[in-house]
């Protein structure tokens, strides 16, 4: 009989399940829960974008594209990056269309990390970096960021983990789950530490369009950084296109050629219909982004006010669509807090520890929901906190 314990290699068997996954599994078995858990927009992809994909089907464009993606889509991405962030990338050899930002992260890590290389992962952060690094044989170096710095990466924190084995720095800003952003001066300080090294940067800018009051700055725009940076971008968050599975990488040719080979063998090409939709999105979608962003911003204000009224401390996030309030001080771990809230008040939020150990004492609340829905959830949280405060 087959022995799965030896069949499945240890590094796969021991790969931890995502903390969010665990929590979502609890949630999936419950009814009548007001959830503020999802990491995706509640908008539908704007119709003109959907229509472009439908039209591509009607015209029978059901083939593979080139490995790197439709050249027209890559040209539009180049124009978009120039227009929005003043960055110049060559559509022919510096841009790859990928299956979501997720594949982009995977091929970037695989193209850059050799066994034994250290990869610095500032946390709390999205759950995929460490497992992908582990699968590539790299060593994830978890770098806890702190609420007192608004969850920004400081040069002091970075220099405390730099070694001669450091290969790659992950820069996940605007950040899921904290909503933190990195501004130009803050990026300059990080750049100063890596400028004279051979360290690469993976800048995950999937939330670049969702910053409030301050425009996003890419680290690639800072002197000496473009040559070492892979920007990961995508359509999911900006255009509400999560299901289309379309992202991209922007990187110097030498790094792009490495990623290109991995992408070519593992994936072939990003979904063709999604690429046609992307062309339309990039050409005529700026106003859609503005409209959705304005709505997120209103909800951000609304939820911050609500949390303040409940008396939960929360720094005002400047990006993405999450708030990351402090839920410590009630004698409950983050996980216990969220489980009790779920079981006793039927409101679901994600424990901060799902995004790294340093998320203890916090929870992620998504505001990719309608205001009435958010109101209902806030009422549940308020009731729960009241019971926790009540002297026994």
């Amino acid at each position: 009989m087959i022995n799965y314990n030896t069949l499945i290699p240890e590094h796969v068997r021991t790969l931890p399940a995502s903390g969010i996954r665990k929590f979502f599994d609890l949630l999936d078995n419950m009814k009548d829960v007001t959830a503020l858990t999802v990491g995706q927009p509640d908008f539908i992809t704007p119709w003109h974008i959907r229509e472009a994909a439908i039209e591509s089907l009607e015209r029978g464009k059901t083939y593979y594209t080139s490995n790197a993606g439709l050249i027209e889509a890559r040209r539009e991405i180049a124009r978009y990056m120039k227009r929005r962030f003043d960055l110049t990338y060559a559509p022919e050899n510096e841009i790859l269309m990928t299956v979501g930002g997720s594949e982009a992260i995977d091929i970037a890590v695989r193209a850059l990390v050799a066994p034994g290389d250290e990869v610095i992962i500032p946390e709390p952060c999205f759950v995929c970096y460490a497992p992908i690094v582990t699968l590539a044989g790299g060593i994830p170096i978890h770098l806890p960021l702190s609420a007192k710095n608004k969850f920004k990466l400081t040069p002091e924190e970075l220099s405390s983990v730099l070694t001669d084995k450091t290969k790659l720095l992950i820069l996940p800003f605007p950040n899921n789950p904290t909503g933190a952003i990195m501004e130009k001066e803050e990026l300059e300080a990080i750049a100063a530490l890596v400028r004279d090294t051979n360290i690469a940067i993976l800048s995950d800018e999937i939330y670049a369009e969702l910053t409030y009051g301050k425009a996003h700055t890419s680290i690639a725009s800072i002197e000496g950084m473009r040559e070492r940076t892979v920007i990961v971008g995508g359509f999911s968050k900006a255009y509400a296109m999560t299901g289309w599975r379309l992202g991209y990488t922007l990187a110097p040719q030498a790094i792009t050629s490495g990623m290109y080979k991995i992408h070519q063998y593992a994936i072939m090409c990003a979904p063709t219909q999604s690429q046609f939709a992307a062309i339309e999105a990039l050409k005529n979608g700026d106003a859609d982004i503005e409209e959705m962003k304005a709505e997120y911003d209103r909800r951000r204000h609304y939820i911050l006010k609500g949390l303040a009224e409940i008396g939960l401390e929360c720094f005002a996030p400047e990006g993405a669509f999450y708030v990351f309030p402090k839920i410590a001080g009630f004698g409950l771990s983050s996980e216990e807090f969220c489980e009790k809230l779920l079981y006793e008040h039927r409101v679901a939020i994600v424990p901060g520890t799902a995004f790294g150990d340093c998320g203890e004492g916090f929870a992620r609340i998504s505001y990719a929901y309608s205001v009435p829905h958010i109101t209902k959830a806030l009422e549940g949280i308020a009731d729960f906190v009241k019971t926790l405060r009540k002297p026994l």
């Binding site: 995502s18 969010i20 996954r21 979502f24 949630l27 999936d28 959830a35 858990t37 999802v38 990491g39 995706q40 509640d42 999205f126 759950v127 899921n176 999560t242 209103r298 909800r299 204000h301 609304y302 006010k305 609500g306 799902a354 205001v371 109101t375």
Partner: protein, 159 residues
């Protein structure tokens, strides 16, 4: 402050407190702005959109195109002002194009609507022609799609 109007147009149940939170304004100034909009007639009314097909109430509506002889000095206003008084008429617009005034009429039955056109509208002196089209099904109104609200189907990908 125009954002307040856009938000209320979309959901008239939003309270001044909610609007103030969403727009990061203080509640009193939102309240004052709304009061002013109400006073000067910018905000005309707060109503609910109801899909009567989901209820037992029988209701028939029709779009009626009218050709009208304009009145000296008063143009189309005089006839429009007269039409305002009929509770059966739910909408009146002056139109460009091949006819002059478009009405929407609601009644309990087809017959009731037909009677109204024949007995009340057609005999009016300045109305020279009418054309009645009955509404068979309403798909979308005021930017809102008439359908049963869908469940949140977003998959639970651990993002």
């Amino acid at each position: 402050m125009e954002t307040i109007l856009k938000l209320l147009e979309n959901d008239s149940r939003l309270t001044a407190a909610e609007l103030a939170s969403m727009l990061n304004l203080d509640e009193d100034s939102v309240r004052a702005a709304i009061a002013e909009y109400e006073k000067n007639g910018t905000i005309v009314a707060y109503k609910a959109l109801i899909d009567w097909d989901k209820t037992d109430r029988e209701i028939v509506s029709a779009v009626i195109e009218l050709k009208v002889t304009p009145q000296r000095d008063r143009g189309f206003d005089k006839i429009a002002e007269k039409l305002l008084n009929y509770p059966e008429i739910t909408s009146i617009c002056l139109m460009s194009g091949s006819y002059d005034i478009q009405l929407i009429i609601e009644g309990k039955t087809l017959r009731e609507v037909a009677q109204f056109v024949a007995m009340k509208l057609a005999p009016m002196e300045c109305i020279t022609a009418t054309s009645t089209s009955f509404v068979l099904k309403k798909y979308k109104d005021k930017g809102v799609i008439y359908q049963t609200p869908e469940e949140d189907e977003r998959g639970s990908c651990p993002v």
